[in-house]
Amino acid sequence: MKSPLPAVVRFAKNRLLPWVLVSSFVFGGFAIGVVVFNSWTSGEAQAVEVTTSQPKESDEPIQPIEARTDLDPRKIVLGRRLFDDPRLSHNNQLSCTSCHDLKTGGTDRKARSTGIYGAVGVINTPTVFNSGFNFRQFWDGRAETLEKQIDGPLLSKTEMGSTWPEVIGKLKSSPEYVQGFRQIYGDGVQSDYVKDSIAEFERSLSTPNARFDRYLRHDTKALTSREQEGYKLFKSFGCASCHQGANVGGNMYQKLGVMAPYFADRGHINWADQGRFNVTGDPRDMYMFKVPSLRNVELTPPYFHDGTAATLPAAVRVMATYQLGRPLADPEVGLIVEFLKTLTGELNGRPL
């Protein structure tokens, strides 16, 4: 009888070995695939972490302001050019600079601005400086962003009186603009790009390095003793309850006339005096306004939404009466004004 061993060996060699090889490849490849897939997904899973910005808050109600370093310089240049360009107005006579002159604190220093064809505005022009730090734009906070804010003056019949098709048409006739927009946005002139570049320019208008900022950074000699005393009064009288944060305001709404009837005393109440009520229709928002920033405040008279306070001491007295409900002595007003003047910063490294 023939031994079956040679036949088994032959079978193993000719048939079984290839199948073992094939099986090894199949399961090996599958295993590698699973391992690679799992390592990829576990990498993704590790990416799940809650990341929110948490800058350190100081004990002071006011924090130093910082220059923005995350802005696109090309957009800033284009935005600056658009900001100065009168072609944004219907009659080619008014630019953003007409009301927000950088040489006069980012305002026109008028109680009411003069718009197209001599139309008088309904409200005092706020400064464009540090507007990027405001939580909302306009006195009544109706615009959430600087980009959305641009529609306001540009389309207003009493300000620039333009329409977007008109503005875009004018800008497209300029080869420099067409080239500029194409270089930055890779596209032609569009209203969204115009808004984006102007807003970027406005965000660049931060004014850091005020003497008070240096004081907050522990340079105690940056302020005189009287100015430091003024800051103490500013806090202890409660001014800092509203004028706080990096922008010394610009981050909340407050009613004008909390402690006394400001509008009844002033008289001639108009539509703009209704403040945030004009946006929400909520009676609780009547006479509510965005608390303005006090940075560079010495450069931006007259004060308040109605421009009725011509000087800083006058503005401080009105605030004391109607917002704090307490009279201030003249020396106290003087000290607070001295402190307020320390909030004047620098623009692009130059004192304002």
């Binding site: 090889l21 094939v22 599958f30 897939f37 706080q244």
Partner: protein
């Protein structure tokens, strides 16, 4: 290597690739979108908690600025916009349910933002009033002393004590 062996190896490799492909495809969840969505939800929850904590901190003057509210509400709005991109692997009724929940969440955030604004405005007035109240009581007590009205002076002292106590512990019956 013979042609037969090569064929077997190629068949094996092909089968391995097919199995891997099928394994990946049969996974019901796109893990990247799942994680992105989950991260947004966690961000929302964390920021919501932080805002609640900040409200107490401001109330007790442990925080002196409203900037954190502005920043955190803005971050919540951004996370909420991102949440509107519901992962594609969620389909049918579940997708509708999530859509409804997100809509509700959006309304609640709007409501919360309004309440925070109201809080900021009213809290500022409260702080001013609490600071000025002792000064005012002192002035009034001085006037009461001049007229020798001891009852009024005592009444003012009690009022000051009660108001400050209530400010510290604003519970009923405190």
């Amino acid at each position: 290597m013979t042609a037969g062996k090569l064929r077997n190896i190629l068949m094996g490799a092909g089968a391995a690739l097919l199995l891997t492909f099928l394994f990946v495809q049969q996974r019901p969840v796109d893990i990247r979108h799942h994680d992105r969505f989950l991260n947004d939800l966690l961000v929302m929850r964390q920021l919501d908690t932080e805002i609640n904590r900040d409200l107490f901190s401001v109330r007790y003057e442990l925080l002196n600025s409203y900037d954190p509210f502005v920043r955190k509400l803005e971050e919540m709005r951004k996370a909420q916009v991102d949440l509107q991109l519901i992962p594609l692997f969620v389909k049918g009724r579940k997708r509708e349910e999530i859509g409804q929940l997100l809509k509700r969440e959006s309304e609640l955030l709007l409501q919360k933002a309004r309440l925070v604004e109201t809080f900021k405005s009213k809290n500022a007035i409260l702080k001013n009033s609490i600071r000025y109240f002792p000064v005012l009581i002192a002035e009034a007590s001085g006037a009461a002393d001049k007229t020798k009205d001891t009852a009024l002076r005592d009444h003012l002292a009690n009022l000051l004590r009660d108001i400050l106590l209530y400010y510290l512990t604003p519970q009923k019956g405190a």
